[in-house]
């Protein structure tokens, strides 16, 4: 069972609510995914169309809403969004995203760390979205983040776990759960992340823009389970050279 900040999750797949073709498709796909936590963003209400409330289709009893600070370009904006999220009854959970570059949407490490330090002091349960930098992961953890969310590849690019070797280091060193987020484009990608030992994954784009999002959500759910079971069952060693009986060349000096 996965535990983050004292809360247990049966599913290690977290969902995103963006980019779906309609609220109904989003609702069905998330249900098919089996996920228990979904990210949501904060935006101004469209005064010309105030009834349009995509999130009203989701049952807040079933899903823990994880507000994100998407749109924030620096720590100050992220902190403001965090406060707005909390005021909306979103609780203290927060996915911290500080992305000053709208083209790549890569997270700013310095602003992310600054915001994490400040928000932890304010009582937030911060899950920072970050580039797969092992030292940054340690710094965020030391600052009190309840998990770390290193990217597999840039948001929406569906390229999979390009940051594999760094994520392995993060997983080996982390004392908090590691949730691989962003760029996971296919079920095989999430299986790979889970086989590496990731505690969970977050998938949004790949499900939302699939031809059949509901079936794709199910495929991702199965892949997360498969990857996790494989990890827990002890994967066989990848041998770089054959292992014959061992001659003791070079040990003749031992007495």
């Amino acid at each position: 069972m996965l535990t983050i900040a004292g809360r247990k999750f049966r599913s290690r797949l977290f969902g995103g609510t963006g980019k779906f073709s309609s609220p109904e498709v989003m609702k069905e796909a998330l249900a098919a995914s089996g996920c228990e936590m979904v990210t949501v963003a904060l935006r101004r209400i469209d005064l010309n169309n105030p009834a349009d409330d995509i999130m009203s289709v989701l049952d807040r009893e079933r899903y823990l809403f994880l507000p994100n600070t998407s749109g924030a370009r620096d720590a100050g904006e992220a902190i403001r969004l965090a406060c707005l999220a909390r005021a909306s009854g979103g609780g203290e959970w927060l996915k911290l995203e500080v992305t000053p570059d709208p083209r790549t949407l890569l997270p700013d490490p310095i602003e992310t760390l600054k915001a994490t330090e400040e928000l932890v002091k304010e009582g937030f349960k911060v899950l920072p979205y970050m580039n797969a930098d092992p030292i940054l992961a340690l710094r965020l953890q030391d600052a009190g983040a309840v998990a770390v969310m290193p990217l597999g590849s840039p948001i929406g690019t569906n390229q999979g776990v390009l940051t594999r070797f760094q994520i392995e280091i993060i997983i080996a060193q982390a004392q908090v759960p590691v949730i691989v987020d962003a760029g996971l484009g296919a079920p095989s990608h999430v299986a790979e992340a889970m086989e590496m030992g990731a505690d969970a994954v977050l998938v949004n784009t790949a499900i939302a823009v699939a031809g059949d999002p509901v079936r794709m959500a199910r495929a991702f759910a199965m892949a997360v389970e498969a990857g996790r079971i494989a990890y827990e069952s002890g994967l066989g060693a990848v041998s770089k050279d054959a292992a014959p009986s061992s001659p003791e060349d070079g040990l003749g000096f031992l007495r």
Partner: protein
């Protein structure tokens, strides 16, 4: 009187409370976050806070996001 709401100029009746304006827009208070002149209001304050002329209002809600 005039207020600025989500960056747009809007005319509202004097003495309006936040709840009145939300009702006018057909918004459920539970799904909206209100920031007035840079300060986030609590739900209780929606009913008591009287809007002044020139107030800067931000009405925020959860939307889909990754």
């Amino acid at each position: 009187m005039r207020i600025l709401c989500n960056g747009e100029a809007r005319e509202i009746a004097s003495g309006s409370r936040v709840t009145d304006y939300l009702n006018q827009l057909g918004l459920d208070a539970l799904s909206v976050v209100v920031e007035c002149d840079g300060k986030i209001l609590t739900r209780e304050e929606y009913g008591s806070h009287e809007l002044q002329d020139g107030a800067v209002l931000e009405l925020i809600r959860f939307v889909g996001g990754g």
